[in-house]
């Protein structure tokens, strides 16, 4: 039977030795499987392309054939708002840092209060130091 079911050969029943097929259950089974496979392969249905497909392709071809400067302009137009926001945020950050009040580096506590370090004394000393600061 191998001679007959040389799987790339069988496409129709007339290529088979019918008498052998009728007698051999093993070959009958193989033949049925093969014919099912062939039928499956031939059951492909025609498919339709989606609407406007040709126009879509034409558009992508037009885009693909644009010169390089077109893409720079395209990218710049889209990046401009992001860049503006970044610049604005950086500017605000710098202004904020510059406006922060400067405190004197060291605060010398009153000699009289030195013996008694308390929160109240520290605040008083701070006020005193500020009022003496000529920059204020």
């Amino acid at each position: 039977m191998k001679r007959h079911i040389d799987w790339e050969m069988v496409g129709s029943e007339d290529q088979l030795d019918r008498s052998h097929l009728e007698e051999c259950p093993e070959c009958q089974k193989k033949y049925r499987l093969h014919m099912f496979l062939v039928r499956q392969a031939r059951s492909a249905r025609p498919v339709e392309p989606p609407p406007f497909f040709a126009s879509k392709v034409a558009r992508s071809i037009q885009q693909a054939s644009q010169p390089m400067w077109f893409y720079f302009r395209w990218a710049a137009a889209r990046l401009a708002p992001v860049l503006a926001l970044l610049i604005l945020a950086t500017g605000l950050l710098i202004i904020n840092v510059l406006r922060e009040p400067e405190l004197p580096d060291t605060v010398i506590l009153d000699d009289s209060a030195a013996s008694e370090v308390s929160f109240e004394n520290m605040i008083n000393s701070l006020h005193k130091a500020r009022s003496e600061d000529p920059g204020e």
Binding site: E8, L33, Q40, V47, E48, P49, F53, V57, S60
Partner: protein, 193 residues
């Protein structure tokens, strides 16, 4: 009177992109059906078709206008789909997944119906082709393409050999081997559980 393919190609080469839209309109059905045959029902069919037409556009300068344009498109489509199959295999898409129980039951049902000689409904034929692709998915790209070119599209051995860059004898041997593999797999599905 509609323009011929060589006339349209000449216009495209002069920079007329509208002429290319006409070529796409003429061959889109052919390309979509080829994708369907080679890759099965595929949600990415539109993207694949678009890539094929972009390749065609870029390759038109090399196209020998004395030969039919359809043969050129066909070659591009086959090669592109072969690449897609290899990529899919690389990405392990579905390839190592066996059929689900539900799919196996459907194969059994369709096999029974088919062997009893009952004609399949249109929806069943569609389903049958889908299931065939589930069997084909585990084959190598070239094995799958050989089977599809011969059994689905009914191409000659010489034609397949030219398309795949091999000899007709090699095509016959490969096809025979592929069919044995498929039959074994099909038998496994039908005898499961």
């Amino acid at each position: 009177m509609p323009k011929t393919d060589p006339e349209l190609v000449a216009e495209i080469l002069r920079g007329d992109e509208d002429a290319f839209e006409e070529i796409v309109r003429r061959y889109q059905r052919f390309v979509f059906n080829a994708i369907y045959h080679y890759l099965g029902y595929n949600s990415e069919a539109e993207d694949v078709a678009q890539e094929i037409f972009l390749k065609l556009y870029r390759s038109l300068e090399r196209y020998d206008q004395s030969r039919p344009l359809q043969a050129w498109i066909y070659r591009i489509a086959v090669n592109h789909c072969l690449d897609e199959m290899r990529k899919a295999r690389h990405r392990f898409i579905r390839l190592f997944a066996d059929m689900t129980e539900e799919e196996e039951d459907r194969v059994k049902y369709l096999f029974e119906k088919s062997t009893k000689g009952s004609p399949l409904l249109e929806s069943e034929e569609e389903e049958s082709f889908k299931l065939l692709h589930r069997l084909l998915d585990k084959l190598s790209a070239k094995d799958k393409m050989t089977f599809v070119l011969r059994e689905v599209e009914g191409r000659s051995y010489d034609d397949i050999a030219t398309t795949l860059g091999t000899s007709p004898t090699a095509v016959r041997i490969r096809l025979s081997r592929v069919k044995r593999k498929l039959l074994k797999r099909l038998e496994g599905v039908l005898e499961s559980r």
